[in-house]
Symmetry: C2
């Protein structure tokens, strides 16, 4: 089922434009994909296998931290299923990944009264001595407040009780809080979980050390507990906490990227790659982050195959490994490609949840943006036709650095950070109909971009 | 600051009505309380001491299960603070309460894969043997489904995976699920937590045994885990769980109701009583359930005193003990009163959270309802002027059974059951401005009903 269209670039040139394709968007040309897009959308919505498959992945294997047997078992299963789906060239590619293990961990309020605190060690944290560390807590709201109260931090546990503004801003405390606290002489670092909403839910995630200061143990408290400790300090009470973290960093472990294709009918060496990450944090089920992303991309490609669609270029679905604590999968995918990177036409990832899709974020030039916006229009019937400037996700970042245009699937963002990196990232948070629309959106975008005669301009 | 008004009943009689006061509501008469009501509302909203006080209660003492030292310490503190407030006749009255202790507990999925399950034993549950009980799980959605599959329940752990419809309906599985499961031959009972929303949050609460069948251990799983086990069963997988509950029921323990008053200036023996329950489940902080209710009622009375308001009748604030697992406080309050129960004009309780108040639910006759609706109109400026037919809470139930009209404070119900009986019932769930409006609503209602010449008709 092939839809010949005139070359977009030729069309633009014919119209006498070269720098701004937007003014001459090839409406009519891309609009010829309307029927096939509608067929993809209808079929995706009539099919509940994406949600079923995601359920079998996350219920069957649970969470999938890099280095864990459950991740490797899940990858084996994905490979077997991709083969069963009849996708072409199903395979894995080796990736060495960090191997951090949580171990037993706890936090307890010792003064002004004894009470257990709900926590999760931050990914990559060093452990404490077996008996834990016990110290008075200094609660601050910001890096600036720590700087101003530096003299009080020495020998203490510093708690950053930073209210959530947006992820990009607030996650700074998780990423660099432990280094800032160590520089001030603290013996351990706590952060308030990075979330706008909590039911005593601790949120883990990576932290980073640097080589200039001692690596101190680091954990996230719940919003509730962080606020309580802050109130206690504000009342003039002496806040003492015992923190125990049994985490270990073991030697790097073998893992794999898993992938399969529909080989292009005319230009098999040109590739549209789409996917999500198959690893997760070691809490919840990694259903939203990012089981849904992997499955949506995978189902998009399976759907093309089922509809007998073989686009001009190769479409490849990848489950990248180790996005959460290393991005080694995304790096290894690029490094294994060599010159093939230059023949990647588009890299698309879903890693912001598979809630109701609203469209895409595009990381590329204005000409590419104009084309992707035209393709986006084919998704108006499912409300996924908005294409914003700026896009990219961790696993496609290494390709984008080399000039490959990138697309992020954008979805209703309301609740993503409520569940992100918590025990509550489970299948029930997603909706089968919304997931099916994510499949449709990724399938239409990937198919059309893989099929149009001219490739998207590089970044 | 006294507002003489004509007797409502006399007014009604003068208008020639006796059965339906509603048609001749004494608008003008109750409207004379407009100024004092506005003053109460303004003062409550300008004053943040309710939230501060609630913070000192719940941060200072934590949760407050019947029989726990923290409950008794909290009661001592409330008594001391009521005395410091200058309220009259501050005192406690003895109540013997059930003494159930949770102990260590856990649940683990054994098949089809091993994974910890998040759970809370139900209040009153018996314990398991120390090694726990391990058995195949039979998941059902309803009592009817259990009845239909009774033959499969013998020797198993029955899980009621009942989706939340409304609290009254769904809580039936928590209250009577273990008895139904035991009747079917199950060795333990699990329920899905009674909530419309979860971030892997387990919800505890009382269960009931009966004398005809074995008492089997009972616990709530999270919504997430219950749904996962259900999906596994639906896929034909054999679901095996190990459940361990270390709970014990000890002999009844001494506790107390705590109370204080503003003695009425004309009819001190007639009483408007208002309050909430000072006990809580042994999770979270019991901030929403029901620290906020106790504090709102208490602050309402403190506010009257601060404004120099001494109504015609006595206004008494009570922190009832043991609402959660016995209602012994409400019973003891009534039983200790003797004939004074008949001189209780109104019993008001806040136990549905202290979110944005919308008004009251009234349990009493139509004449009383008409009067309370008039008083409600004085709360229009804070949106708390809706008075619904039907009202009552657990602690005022024993008074209402004896004919005392009852009022429930009604609030925005959106999130109450998200946090109810979980580790997430903490101070931050409440808003200082909303709590202040609850104080205002309770104060205006209590003051006017205590001050009007004629008492509310009895039920």
């Amino acid at each position: 089922m092939i839809h010949p269209i005139r070359s977009l670039v030729c069309l633009a040139l014919a119209l006498g434009a070269s720098t701004s394709l937007q003014a001459q968007t090839p409406d009519a040309t891309i609009a010829r994909y309307r029927d096939v897009a509608d067929q993809i959308i209808r079929t995706a919505q009539a099919d509940s296998s994406a949600y079923d498959r995601l359920g079998r992945l996350v219920d069957g294997f649970g969470h999938r931290l890099s280095g864990s047997p459950s991740l490797e078992r899940a990858i084996d299963w994905v490979l077997a299923e991709m083969t069963r789906d009849g996708l072409e060239n199903p395979r894995t590619e080796p990736v060495m990944v960090p191997h951090w293990v949580r171990g037993n961990e706890s936090a307890e309020l010792i003064s002004p009264r004894r009470a257990p605190l709900t926590m999760l060690g931050l990914g990559g944290s060093v452990g404490t001595p077996k008996a834990g560390v016990t110290a008075q807590v200094l609660v601050v709201s910001t890096f600036e407040e720590l700087e101003a109260r530096k003299a009080e931090a020495k020998g203490r546990i510093v708690l950053f009780d930073a209210p959530f503004t947006n992820y990009r801003e607030t996650v700074a405390y998780r990423r660099t809080g432990p280094v800032a606290a160590a520089k001030a002489g603290a013996i351990a670092c706590l952060i308030r979980s990075v979330t706008p909403f909590s039911i005593r839910s601790a949120h883990t995630g990576s932290t980073r050390y640097d080589s200039t200061v001692t690596r101190i143990p680091a954990a996230a408290l719940t919003v509730e507990d962080a606020m309580m400790l802050h109130r206690m300090q504000d009342r003039g009470e002496r806040v003492v906490v015992r923190l125990s973290i049994g985490a270990l960093t073991l030697p790097d472990a073998p893992s794999r990227n898993v992938m399969a294709e529909i080989v292009g009918r005319e230009r098999p060496d040109e590739v549209v790659v789409l996917g999500g990450h198959i690893d997760s944090w070691d809490v919840g089920q990694g259903a939203m982050d990012d089981g849904g992303g992997v499955v949506a991309a995978w189902e998009a490609v399976r759907l093309m195959r089922r509809l007998g669609l073989r686009p001009r270029r190769t479409v490849r679905v990848v489950g990248w490994t180790n996005e959460e604590n290393g991005t080694r999968g995304g790096l290894a995918y690029r490094d294994a490609r060599g010159a093939e990177v230059d023949r990647h036409v588009l890299a698309m990832e879903s890693d912001e949840g598979t809630f109701a899709p609203v469209g895409f974020g595009f990381g590329g030039g204005p000409e590419g943006l104009a084309i992707v916006r035209e393709v986006g229009k084919l998704l108006a019937s499912i409300g996924a036709d908005s294409v914003a400037e700026g896009g990219g996700e961790a696993d496609i970042g290494p390709l984008m650095e080399r000039g490959v245009p990138g697309l992020s699937l954008l979805v209703d963002p309301t609740r993503y950070f409520w569940y992100h990196h918590t025990q509550g990232d489970t299948l029930d948070k997603l909706d089968p109909a919304e997931l099916a629309r994510c499949v449709a959106a990724m399938a239409v975008m990937a198919y059309v971009v893989a099929d149009v005669p001219e490739q998207l301009p590089r970044r």
